[in-house]
């Protein structure tokens, strides 16, 4: 998978790996770079980090939950965060979020879930998850959760894998 250096346009090779307990200590210490969520709450869950192939600095994190029961049969993206310096208009590296979502899609194929991935959106982000990554919005019929869920599967997942992981 390749990230793009926004200043030079150069492509840089990146990898996704499971987060170790040592990484959690680094994330806690380096909380200015990952300041949106409390990642230590997810220490016992399936958390992955994205880094450049030749650099140990963590650039993005995601927490995945696999739903193996036949009825759900999908992977949930519970949480995802790109490091502070790589989000917004002044970001240094591009495609970190896309690579992490595409990684979840790949896992969803690899584990036999037909590439089915879902996440809970904030209401204001629904249209943007669709436009940027091709998620479908499922409006749930409950009053407590007006935001519903965003789902990606089959061909949509394949497209994202091709775009972000097989460049």
């Amino acid at each position: 998978m390749l990230l793009k250096d926004t200043a030079t346009g150069n492509k840089l090779e990146a990898v996704v790996e499971p987060v170790t307990s040592k990484d959690f200590k680094i994330i806690k210490k380096d909380n200015a770079r990952f300041d949106k969520f409390d990642w230590n709450r997810y220490e016992r869950q399936e958390v992955y980090k994205l880094r450049l192939k030749n650099d140990e600095t963590i650039l993005g994190l995601t927490c995945l939950t696999e739903h193996t029961d036949e009825a759900t049969n999908a992977i949930e993206i519970e949480l995802l965060e790109v490091s502070t310096e790589n989000i917004g208009e002044k970001k240094k590296l591009d495609n970190i979020g896309g690579c992490l979502i595409a990684f979840a899609c790949r896992e969803a194929f690899k584990r036999g879930h037909d590439g089915c991935v879902f996440l809970t959106p904030k209401t204001s982000l629904i249209a943007h998850y669709s436009a940027k990554y091709g998620f479908h919005h499922i409006a749930l019929k409950t009053t407590q959760r007006p935001e519903g869920l965003m789902v990606l599967y089959g061909n949509g997942s394949r497209k994202l894998i091709k775009k972000y992981l097989e460049q």
Binding site: D35, K36, F37, D38, G60, T62, H67, A71, T72, N73, A74, I77, E78, L79, L80, E81, V82, N86, I87, G88, E89, I96, G97, G98, R106, F109, K110, R111, G112, D114, G115, C116, F118, L119, T120, P121, K122, S124, L125, A127, H128, Y129, A131, K132, Y133, I138, L140, K141, T142, Q144, R145, G148, L149, V151, Y153, G154, N155, R158
Partner: protein, 175 residues
């Protein structure tokens, strides 16, 4: 940890969607309601999934398993060339004989490769790339064979020792 309001002050919704996924509800009842709705949707998409799409999913699963195995440092005796070939044929719902015919290989030869009684010939690897429409490139199958060979060379000294008698001269020093 920043509040949603703080985050919204700093970034546009587009920027947020690009690099953030917020946690869903922590209320177990609400979460179960959401999952129940999701299951209805999941059932619906599964019911309309075409046979072609199912096959693609199965083959993608195999390809990604193969890729991860090739990139791993560990060796697994069960994951030999024949195992992945057998899985490729099984996921296409074909009989070995039918598949052997499709790539013009003797069915006995195919069976021997699958059961690890024979090393695959180059032509088989090339034909696998063609049969799979490049979805399983020859290089992937060769990497699998190379991984097996490396393990054999590292763990079976007899392979090298049996050649000792043919070497009449060797370097006298070692680095």
């Amino acid at each position: 940890m920043k509040s949603l309001k703080d985050i919204e002050k700093k970034y546009t919704p587009e920027e947020m969607a690009e690099g953030l996924v917020f946690p869903g509800t922590q209320n177990p009842k609400e979460r179960e309601t959401a999952l129940a709705e999701f299951r209805k949707f999941r059932k619906k998409i599964a019911s309309v999934q075409s046979e072609k799409s199912k096959t693609i999913s199965q083959l993608l699963q195999l390809k990604f398993l193969m890729e991860d195995y090739l990139n791993a440092d560990t060796f697994n005796e069960d994951f030999h060339f024949g195992y992945f070939l057998k899985e490729y044929i099984r996921r296409l719902e074909k009989k070995n004989k039918e598949f052997a015919h499709e790539i013009d290989i003797d069915p006995t030869e195919l069976s021997q490769v699958i059961n690890k009684h024979r090393k695959p010939a180059e032509k088989l690897v090339f034909r696998l790339e063609i049969h799979s429409n490049k979805n399983f490139p020859a290089i992937m199958w060769f990497r699998l064979l190379e991984k097996e060979r490396m393990y054999e060379v590292l763990h079976d000294r007899d392979l090298i020792n049996s050649e000792r008698k043919y070497v009449t001269q060797k370097l006298e020093f070692s680095f």
